[in-house]
Every structure is written in C-alpha cells, then in structure tokens.
C-alpha cells in the first residue's frame, strides 16, 4: 500500500469530496473520514521515511502526456514531507472545528477536502505540469469558501484573491515554459520533470545568465505573491477578513506555505546560478515583511486583520532564513513554515470563535471574555504566546534558528529584525490579548460561555502539538536539516573557493 501512498493520499479526499457534495447529511462524516485516512497515511510515511538521505522517497512516476513530456511524478523529501504532514493534520482539525457548519454544509465540507487535494498535490508533485495544475486547483475551493461563506465584502475579496494570485501563477507558468523550451534530455526530448530542469539551470551552455535571471524573477514573483511578501501582500488581508474561519485557517496555514515551499523546492536550487543580487533582494523583502507586517498588525482594530498581518510578518522569517544561506537558517525557515502553520490555526480559530460568540472582532469593543470563557481563554493565550515566540513553543525554536543561523551571513539584517520587530510583535499580541480577554468583563458579554466542545478540542490538539514541537523539535527538524544541506552546499563551496 505504501507504494502508492501519495496517490492514495491525494485520491481519497477527492473521492470523499464527491460523496460529501452528493449528500449533505453525511457530508461532515465523509469529510472527517476523508481527511483522517490521509492523516494516517502521512503519519505512516513519516515513520517509514528514511531520515539519513536526501533522495526523493515514495516516488511514483507514470507517463501522462508523453507528447509534451509530461509525467505524473510525485514523491517527497525533507522539504515536502513536513508540509504534507501539516496539511493532513490541519485539514482534520479544520473539519473538526467546523463540525457545526449548517449553511450549505455539503458544499462546505467538499471544498475543505478539495483544498486538501490541491495542497497535497502541490507539496508532492515533481513534474512542473502537475505542480501547476495543483497550484491552480487550490484557488477554486478558496474562492468559493470566501465567496459563499464570507463576510460583507466577500464578492470583492474572492475575486481579488482569485485574479491576483492567478496572475502571479501565470507569470510563474511563463517562466516554467522558458525552462521547458530551453532544455532537451540527452535523448532529445522535452520534459517537465522538475528535478531534471532545475539541475539543468546549472548548465551555462543552456541558459544565458540574462535569460536565467528573467526566468528566476518570474518564478520568485509567483512565490512571493503567494507567501505573501511585502509589497505583494495586499490581497491577503481582504481575503482573510472576509473569509469564514475555516477558510482563513486553510489560507494561512496551508496556502501561504505553498509560496514558501516553492522557495525551497524551486528557487533555492536555482539560486547559485543567478545574480547574487537576488539573495540580497530576498533578505531585504524578508526583513521588510517582518518589520512592516508587525507594525501593520500593531495598528489594526480588527482582531482577525491583526492576525492576518502577523502572518505576513511571520512568513518574512521564511524568506530571511532562505536568503541567509546557512544550514541552520534554512532549516529554521522550513520549521517556521511548519510551526506557523500550527500556530496561525489557533489564532484564526480564536478570532473566529470570538466573532461568533461575542458578535464582533473589533478589539476595542471586546473585554474580559476570559471571565466567562475560561477554557477558551487558556487556549487562545497559548496560541498568542506561541505566536509571539515564547520559549518552549514551536514558534520560538523556528525564529531563533532563523535569526541565529542568519547572523553569520547577514548580521545587519538580523539586528534590524530583532530591534524592529520583536518588541512590536510582543506588543500587539499582548495588547490585543489583554484588551479582549482580561480586565473587567463588559456587561453585554455576561451571558457568554465557552464555545462548542469540538472547537475546544481542535484548538487543544493544536496547542499540544505546538508545545510538543517546541520541546522536541528534532522529531521533524532532522529531516529538514538533511534537506537543507544540499541547498546550502554550493554556497559554502563558493565561499571556500573565494568566489563570494
């Protein structure tokens, strides 16, 4: 069975989605089963994964459209596997959190599953054609989640989200074509195989520096929009604010990770062959995202919008870590992806729960909720602490790894980040927490009580995972380290020979 683990993992939610769509009554059960099975498969993969090597594992490859060199190739390594694990965990918990969804529940749960199909495909595809298909498929469920279950400005937000990210994908696609048409296999055939094409970018007889830099720019643009990095982040707050809670969680926890994944899978292997200015660019954009995102979050009145901007800030660490080019920083950036995926779930679930219990998310109109919602308060507090980087939780490990790893190559950037964002980040988290949860309870909130048990349950599982990975990060960082090494190795060699 494990021979086709990845295909099964992608197919099962798809089949479950069809069942859920057909029958509204059983939709949530179909969704739960259809997301638990992939979780079981991914856990088994994680157990069986060979942690000592960097080769692709669980690889499946079949001819699909041989006329244009397209294969169905999937496989995972230390870059993809943690994100696959993250996707399967988050999907189960989102289904659980949304257990009470009544409005058009058949479509709702089908879309959650369809989203899982898309992201799992992105994280496993090793063929550019396949990769692009899954990359685009992800847009569809999110468009509907925002557009149907969204807030007052859902139409605008859904269309903006779709078109903005679609344009970025198209630019990425054109770059993929430029790679595709520049290279022929030794047999004289064209191929969309990702690893082959990326390896070919090192061959200066195939790609002129000028062409390669342009191609690189197109790809980088596609991923930066998805992450999103400042100044391409403007679609994110709109989508988040209008999206239903489940949509926001999936968007922040999984969809943003696609951009980061592209960074490690596609951008970094090309990095040694393109202009070194790009490394500076990535680091600068990373730092600007961290600092500017934190300040934006500080100034928000809406709790959810604040959380959305905190995502921009936290995803900046991924970019900084990738641009710093040391094993520790790259590994930290990969772990930041995983860790932020868990933490942001708690944050958005908190915002969602407050919205539907108290009826508003405006920070200044809330107060003292902890008095009536003690269990919820603990979980939300834990989430906020994790997000601001409290030691003992996964966010701390990730951000410290990034900062410590980056200090060697980019000391100034690290200093700017530390002085520009750490205090602000702590500030907006604590201030929001203090205003919303603590202090004397406002009269209008006297009859609130803790939210449904399924909401508490899914948030508790997340908090436990955050603490577990904060204490035992090596469970997953070991495979990230193995994957990070070959990405960084060319630069170490270059530095030793004195080129850089």
């Amino acid at each position: 069975m494990m021979d086709n683990a990845i295909s099964l993992m992608i197919a099962i939610p798809l089949i479950a989605a069809i069942f859920a769509f057909m029958n509204g009554k059983f939709a949530k059960y179909a969704a739960l089963i259809g997301s638990l099975i992939p979780l079981a498969i991914s856990l088994q993969m994680f157990r069986e994964f060979d942690r000592t090597t960097n080769v692709m594992q669980f690889v499946e490859s079949y001819d699909w459209v041989p006329a244009i060199g397209v294969k169905y190739t999937v496989g995972v390594d230390g870059i993809g596997l943690p994100l696959i694990l993250l996707s399967t965990i988050v999907t189960v918990l989102v289904v659980l959190y949304s257990w009470g969804e009544k409005k058009r529940s058949n479509q709702f749960f089908a879309l959650l599953l369809l989203n899982e199909v898309g992201v799992l495909g992105v994280f496993a595809a090793l063929d550019f054609f396949l990769f692009y298909i899954f990359w685009e498929v992800v847009l569809i469920p999110m468009f509907f989640l925002v557009g149907i279950w969204g807030g007052p400005r859902k139409d605008y937000a859904a269309i903006k989200f779709f078109i903005y990210t679609h344009v970025a994908s198209l630019i990425m696609l054109l770059s993929i074509f430029a790679l595709y048409f520049s290279y022929r296999t030794p047999e004289g055939l064209r191929t969309f195989d990702m690893m082959t094409l990326l390896a070919a970018t090192g061959d200066s007889t195939i790609f002129s520096p000028m062409a390669l830099n342009l191609i690189f720019f197109g790809l980088l643009f596609g991923f930066l929009v998805k992450m999103p990095a400042v100044p391409f982040h403007t679609w994110l707050p709109d989508a988040h604010v209008e999206a239903p809670t489940a949509g926001s969680v999936l968007l922040a926890a999984l969809l943003l990770k696609m951009g980061g994944y592209g960074l490690f899978r596609i951008i970094m292997p090309m990095l040694p062959n393109v202009s070194p200015n790009y490394i500076t660019l990535m680091a600068v954009v990373g730092v600007v995202s961290i600092v500017y995102g934190a300040f934006l979050a500080l100034s928000q009145k809406d709790l959810k919008k604040m959380v959305a901007y905190s995502s921009v800030s936290h995803m900046g660490f991924v970019l900084l870590g990738a641009g710093a080019l040391s094993v520790l920083s790259v590994q930290g950036a990969m772990f930041q992806q995983f860790s932020h995926g868990l933490i942001t779930c708690v944050l958005f679930m908190s915002a969602g729960t407050i919205q539907h219990t108290a009826g508003t998310r405006i920070i200044s109109e809330l107060g003292g909720l902890a008095d009536r919602m003690p269990q919820f308060a603990v979980l939300m507090m834990a989430g906020f602490m994790a997000s601001l980087g409290l030691p003992g939780m996964s966010g701390f490990v990730a951000e410290v790894s990034v900062l410590a790893g980056s200090y060697e190559n980019l000391p100034i950037y690290v200093l700017i980040t530390v002085f520009g964002s750490i205090a602000v980040t702590a500030g907006y988290h604590l201030w929001a927490m203090q205003k919303v949860m603590f202090g004397p309870i406002l009269k209008k909130y006297l009859d609130l009580k803790d939210p449904h048990s399924y909401e508490i349950l899914s948030m508790s599982i997340l908090v436990l995972l955050i603490i577990y990975f904060g204490v035992q990060p090596a469970t997953i960082t070991d495979i990230m380290g193995v994957a990070a090494e070959p990405l960084v190795q060319p630069f170490i060699t270059l530095a030793q020979t004195g080129v850089i």
Partner: protein, 492 residues
C-alpha cells in the same frame, strides 16, 4: 492508384450517410404527423458519422479528382463539427419538441454540418467555397429559426456580413486562379511562390478579410455579438462552436498552404491584429450585462487566442525555419479550438436553460446576468456544468480549455514571442473577471425564484460536453497526438 467506389464510401462514409439521412428526413417530413422522431434520427446519424469519420483511413490520398482529401487535419475538425452538432441536436430534442417545423431545424443543422465537413476535407479552392456556402446558407436560416423579431435582425445582419465576406473570399480566389491557373491549393501555393507580385498581395488581402469575418477577428467582428445574441441560443452554440471553427480550418488551409510560402513579414501585422482582437474582446466583454453577449465577446477574444498560431508560424517562417516549432504552434491552436468548441457549446446551452427558465417566468431580457442569481440552488446541474465550462474557458485546470491555453502559451514562448505570451496571459486573467462574475451570481447570490425542473435534453447535452471537457483535460495525450499529426498535414 485508382480508388474504387468502395474506397470512396469508406473515406466519405460520414458525409454520405448524413447526406442520405437529410434526403430521408425531407421525405419523411412530408408524411409524418409526429415529427419528434426526426430529432432521434439526426442524433443516430450523427452518432454513427462520428465513428465513421474517426475510423476513416487517413492515408489514401486525394479523391474526387484531387479536390477532397481525408487526412488527420480534416478528421480532427470533423470530430469537432460532428460532436458540436450532436450536442446541439440533444438540446434541440427538448427545445423543438412538438414544434411543427422541427424537422427543418435538424435538416438545416445536418446540411450545415455536411458543409463544414466538406470544407475540412477540401484541398481545392472551389470545393472549399462550395462547402463554405452550404454551411453558411444553412446557418443563415437557422439564425432566424424562431422567427422572432430579434432573430430576424440577427439573421439579416449575419446574412449580409456573411455574403459580403463570401464575395470577398471568392474575389480573392478568382485573382489567385487568374494568377496561377489552378484552383488546387497546393498548386496555387507553389506557383505564387515563384511569381510573387502586388496582385498576389491584393488576393491575400481579400482572402484574409473573407476569413476574418467568419473567424470574427477584429476589425471584422462586428456582426458576431449581435448575431450571437439575437439567434436562438442553441443555434448560437452551433455558430460559435461549429461555424466559426469552419472559418479557422479554411483559414489554416488557405493561409498556411498558399501563403506561408510567401516569406513575407506579414506576421507582425497579424500579431498586432491578434493582440487587438483578444484585448478588445475581453475589455468589451467585461461591460456586458447579458451573459449571452458576454460569451459572444469572449468568443471574439478566443478568435484572437486561436489565431496566435498564424503569428507563431509567421515568426518561425521569418527567422530560420524550424518545422517542429511551427507544428507545435498549430497543434496548440487546434487543441484550443477543440477545448473552446466543447466549452462554448456547453456554456451556450446553459444560457439556453436560463433563458428558457426566465421566459417561462415571464421576464424581460432572458439572458440578463440577474437571472443567474442563485442558479446553484435553482438548477444545480446546469449551474455546475456552467461552472466547469467557465473555468475551462478561463483556462483553469483540469479542463480541456486549460490544456489548449497551456499549449498556446508554450508555443508562443517557444517561438520567441514572449510579449504576445505575456499579453495572452494578462488577457486570460482579465477574462477571469467576467467569468467569475457569472459564477459569483450562480453560487453566491440568493436565488431569485424557486427550484426549477431542468429540461432533460439540455441537461443531457451539457453532461456530454462536460464529460468531453474533463476527458480532454485529464487525458489529453490522444488528442495532442491527433492535433500534432493534423498540424503536420498543413506543413507538408
């Protein structure tokens, strides 16, 4: 090798069958009281014709004194034409059920299909023109079939523009004949390559203008939105998906075979024409309130996308001849044509369902986007099919439209037309706006009325198109091969 009667029958089996069927249906029409059976006859005939034309031997060479050839190119287009007719007949089974003149609808439809098939197979200017006229005249009548005021206006416009374009084409052909002394396309190409002069250019201009009308390229597109909007919707489906594609196959044959050889820098002019066509089509489509008219303008934009193949071939032709690139470019356009044919037919049939529903509720402007509000709950199957067709048209995987657009992007990049590829990408994103708006109305607005019973024939037609769109999108291999060998025909 002389081919006997048996060979003719096997090569032209589909055409012969359909022609015989038309005769039979005319005869039956005189005697039958209940004419509903005629639709099923047409359906069965088209179904068999589909198999006959797929199974035809493509290696036999020209027949009918070198005027007709059965090759991959002709069969590829026949596949499209017959499938589109088949889907339209399915919809017609409901639309014209119990109507007294329904047999005429099917007869005209079959005649038009035969005309298109003849065009697809012609390798002679005269045969090509005759096929063209057979198809055109039948569709003029179809456009006015419901005999409503707006039908008549649409048909009149279509007829006038159509006859002028036919006349232009014929005039161009006659100059070519005068210059080269032959009507065989290959011979015309060979001779005009030797003696290229101003007269050849004039001929070229007339031929391009003539085909430009049929393909609805800017600036020859004005008739299309009006005609598409005014015709009965299932006829519009046939016009947009079938009749327009006939313009393309004819243009492919004549422009490529006869005129590529001229080695002129005409491709830049064509590139500008293509760029304007797609941008104009999309920009105007955004402002439309009527979904039918919006789809008509999106058809104009699509004409631009498809015509990128001309530019690609021109670019390849202009700088060092690499046949592989040109072949891929044409094959990509053929795939786009295939995807567009199924998606557009389906989309127009969905429009027909909504129009039918709105008319029964006694509303004005049956095609207005307001009637799409909450369609996801009022008519779930129609809405879902429409959703898939719109995603296919906007190039979202895994659909036939995506495969076509994907290949065309690739071919534009391959031939070094990066600016055109980027413009195409931006246009495609722009088009997403108006497609998404319809989807938004269907799924995100509150329903404007009660759930309706979806007419069975329409549903069946849409489901057939839906299956085709997904099948081509997920298993494109066979079709890409087919398109590739069809493209090879043009380049030899």
């Amino acid at each position: 090798m002389t081919l006997g009667f048996g060979d003719y029958l096997s090569l032209m089996g589909a055409e012969s069958l359909l022609t015989g069927l038309v005769m039979l249906m005319i005869l039956l029409g005189l005697y039958l009281k209940n004419k509903n059976i005629q639709g099923y006859l047409a359906l069965a005939g088209l179904g068999i014709a589909l198999f006959l034309s797929i199974g035809a031997d493509m290696t036999k060479g020209p027949i009918f004194f070198g005027t007709i050839e059965v090759d991959a190119l002709s069969q590829f287009f026949k596949l499209i034409f017959i499938s589109v007719s088949l889907i339209v007949v399915l919809a017609g089974l409901t639309r014209y059920k119990d109507s007294p003149a329904q047999d005429e609808f099917y007869i005209l439809l079959l005649l038009a299909t035969i005309g298109m098939m003849v065009v697809a197979s012609s390798i002679d200017l005269l045969t090509l023109w005759i096929g063209f006229e057979l198809a055109s005249i039948s569709t003029y009548a179809m456009a006015a079939f419901d005999k409503e005021k707006r039908n008549l206006e649409a048909a009149m416009k279509y007829f006038i523009f159509g006859s002028v374009s036919s006349a232009m084409m014929l005039f161009g052909f006659s100059i070519l004949y005068g210059l080269t002394g032959s009507t065989r396309i290959a011979e015309v190409a060979a001779s005009s390559m030797e003696m290229m002069g101003p007269a050849t250019l004039v001929a070229l201009l007339f031929v391009v203008a003539g085909f430009g009308f049929k393909m609805a390229l800017v600036p020859f597109h004005m008739w299309a939105p009006d005609t598409y909007e005014g015709s009965p919707t299932i006829v519009t489906a046939f016009l947009a998906a079938g009749s327009k594609k006939m313009g393309f196959v004819a243009a492919f044959k004549v422009i490529f075979i006869a005129l590529v050889a001229l080695r002129l820098e005409w491709f830049m002019a064509f590139a500008v024409l293509v760029a304007i066509t797609m941008t104009l089509g999309n920009v105007v489509a955004i402002w439309q309130k009527s979904v039918k008219r919006m789809l008509a303008y999106s058809s104009v934009a699509y004409a631009g996308y498809i015509a990128i193949a001309f530019v690609v071939v021109g670019a390849v032709n202009n700088g060092g001849f690499d046949l592989g690139v040109a072949q891929n470019g044409i094959a990509a356009s053929l795939m786009l044509i295939l995807g567009h044919a199924f998606s557009k037919t389906g989309a127009f049939i969905a429009v027909a369902v909504v129009g039918y529903m709105a008319l029964r509720e006694g509303r004005n402007n049956p095609d207005d986007i307001e009637h799409y509000a909450g369609l996801g709950r009022r008519a779930p199957i129609t809405a879902f099919c429409m959703l898939v067709f719109l995603f296919s048209l906007s190039g979202i995987p895994p659909t036939a439209g995506f495969v076509g657009k994907f290949l065309v992007w690739g071919s534009a990049m391959d031939s070094g037309l990066v600016w055109l590829a980027v413009l195409f990408a931006l246009n495609s994103a722009l088009s997403l706006y108006y497609y998404l708006r319809v989807i938004m109305y269907m799924y995100m607005k509150e329903p404007a009325g009660a759930k309706i019973a979806e007419p069975r024939g329409y549903v069946l037609a849409m489901v057939v198109a839906l299956v085709a769109v997904f099948y081509i999108g997920i298993f494109p291999q066979a079709f890409v091969d087919f398109a590739s060998s069809a493209a090879a025909v043009l380049l030899h």
